[in-house]
């Protein structure tokens, strides 16, 4: 059985009376040691889906509705707050796009790592510090004995991202949710951080959900890909099948509009228009106003499907 099983997870926003569905019945599995790329444009709900499964929604107006989230057999949505707190930062870690705003600027790096270790594992101060040095070494911080006493501002951007990964790894999580972990970094440092995440997977069997908008990052570092559009999962599969033979027209469009590594001043292919607003969704398939091959069903019926949610998927049989 897979390590993490998400079924029909929805996130609802209550806006004074009328409810808005921001994430609509998302389901996916994550196996041990798997890296899943969750891809979509801004506002597609990829971050909210992950925050929903961690029960870490950023506003009191937001709530998770229905569905189940099983982590190692335990349904997270049925845990009480104390139980959930033990899971968060314990079995389930999260790292963010901007390490500067997620590390405490007034606290030494080592203390930030040790805090979690002491809280979750009840380790002594001395022991937690020793583990903090060890985890800093694992994420490739040079001279961890000395660096453990630095403050975040003494680290460069790439090192801060490593430090945040160290904080998340402190308690030996089974699953790491990485929200745009390399978006704020230069390409060369991005390659270093992706390399580190892959090594951590290989060494510790860590499972990772990587939230990103960059298909290039996904192609190089993930095993499987789930594509989200306007709050719904529209395609999910192994990276090989999904990138080589996308079934959903949106996935195909995303691949086509990459500034391909080809030369020449030919115009780029694009997806016309822009994503719909969630309070003014089109009828039927949410992609239909931008889709190049709309059929009769598309404006009538919301398509369902685990592999591809499309009435007329590309490449033949549904």
């Amino acid at each position: 059985m897979s390590l993490l099983q998400v079924r029909d997870l929805s996130v609802i926003a209550d806006n004074g009376g009328h409810a808005l569905t921001l994430v609509d019945r998302v389901s996916f599995d994550l196996a041990e040691g798997e890296i899943l790329g969750l891809v979509g444009e801004s506002g597609s709900g990829k971050t909210l889906a992950c925050r929903g499964l961690m029960r870490l929604l950023p506003s009191p107006n937001l709530r998770v509705q229905g569905g189940t989230v099983h982590l190692a057999g335990q349904d997270l949505l049925r845990l009480d707050e104390a139980g959930m707190r033990a899971v968060r930062g314990g079995q389930l870690g999260m790292i963010f796009q901007n390490p500067s705003s997620h590390l405490d600027p007034l606290m030494r790096i080592g203390e930030q790592i040790a805090e979690g270790i002491r809280l979750h594992q009840g380790a002594s101060k001395k022991d937690a510090r020793r583990q903090a040095i060890d985890v800093l070494r694992q994420v490739g911080i040079p001279d961890p004995q000395a660096r453990v006493d630095n403050y975040p501002h003494e680290f460069s951007g790439g090192m801060r991202q490593r430090a945040m990964i160290a904080v998340a790894l402190g308690c030996n999580p089974k699953v790491l949710i990485a929200d745009e972990p390399t978006t704020a970094l230069d390409v060369t440092v991005q390659a270093q951080i992706l390399r580190l995440l892959l090594d951590l997977r290989d060494r510790r069997g860590l499972s990772i959900i990587m939230i990103t908008h960059d298909l290039g990052v996904v192609a190089q570092s993930c095993d499987s890909i789930a594509v989200m559009y306007a709050g719904r999962l529209c395609e999910h599969g192994s990276k090989y099948e999904l990138l080589a033979q996308p079934r959903h027209p949106y996935t195909a469009g995303l691949i086509d509009c990459q500034p391909a590594h080809s030369s020449g001043h030919a115009l780029l292919r694009t997806i016309p228009g822009q994503p719909p607003l969630l309070d003014a969704l089109p009828g039927g398939c949410r992609f239909n106003p931008r889709c190049p091959q709309v059929g009769a069903l598309c404006t009538e019926l919301l398509p369902e499907g685990a592999r591809v949610a499309c009435h007329y998927p590309l490449g033949g049989r549904p």
Binding site: E41, S42, S156, G157, G158, M159, D186, V187, T188, V189, Q190, A191, Q192, L194, R195, L198, H213, D214, L215, G216, V217, V218, A219, Q220, S221, K239, Y240, L243, A244, Q245, P246, A252, G253, L254, I255, C257, Q258, P259, A260, H261, S262, S263, G264, H265, L267, L268, R269, T270, I271, P272, Q274, P275, L314, G315
Partner: protein
Amino acid sequence: MSLLQIKDLEVRFAASGSGLFGLSKQWVRAVNGVSLNLAAGETLGLVGESGSGKSTLGRAILHLNPISAGQVLFDGVDMARGSAIDIARLRRETAMIFQDPYAALNPRHSIGETLAEVLRVQRKVAPQNIRARVDELLELVGLRPELASRKPGSLSGGQCQRVGIARALAVEPRLIVADECVAALDVSIQGQIINLLLELQQRMNLAILFIAHDLAIVRRLCDRVAVMYLGKIVEEGPVEAVFTAPRHPYTAALIEAIPQIDPHRPLPAQPLPGEPPSPLNLPTGCAFHPRCRYAQAMCSVVLPPTHSVHEHRYSCVLEHPLPLPAHHEQGVMTCNRAI
């Protein structure tokens, strides 16, 4: 003759220490002896990691940053020593497009007012024609004229960036500096904006300095590319020559690090280590030598010589093109999709 000629340009900022009481004044050399040319109608990509000085260079060209030394010749006139009249002319013939489209527009002005202001200040059209010209500009960038009454807050990021481009075009510039102008946009919208720039450039014979960290876009959009590291241009040349046969190890590492949507291509096993050092404390010799896998003993001592092969310039002790993984030399799109 080139529309823009930059000769040995330096931009320095005081970093710390006041120079008083024996505290030594420290200088950051954000741009450190840059020479570049840009012809009318040409697109030059300027790439490099953050902190390399590419934005400072772009702003210095438009006289938005003080120039410490060197020359910036626009149409043959040196703007570094230009009179107020020269600078006013520069303002009428150049424009800038910024990274964050929301931050670059006044949130309290409707986009029609924002565009009209430029036309009024630069006296581009007679007052009674401003309205019509605003509509024309909006249509030029693919926006409906009805949007003129809207404020930036009610527009999407892509729409705001189109307004930013319309504002730049309002002065009918000959040179546009575009600083990371698609970095904040979603992929599907990025393509739309790049296409718009390509079309406008061909139609209006615009010269564009395209500052970006995304090398794939630069390859697609630009005629030439200049690679900047710690305030210096380390390599410069026609896009195809630089991308298929890079000469400087830094350029080769940047190209290698571009994530491509080829699921069969693994991450580089040994990505370029480290990060750029602080510009306050530049390494001696070649500034790149602490991260360079080809570094020799001499690299930490002497400044690397500048070589030229046809129009391809680079500053490195190495004299041969560097090896790249096979898929780069092909220069082909790697994702062989079958529909």
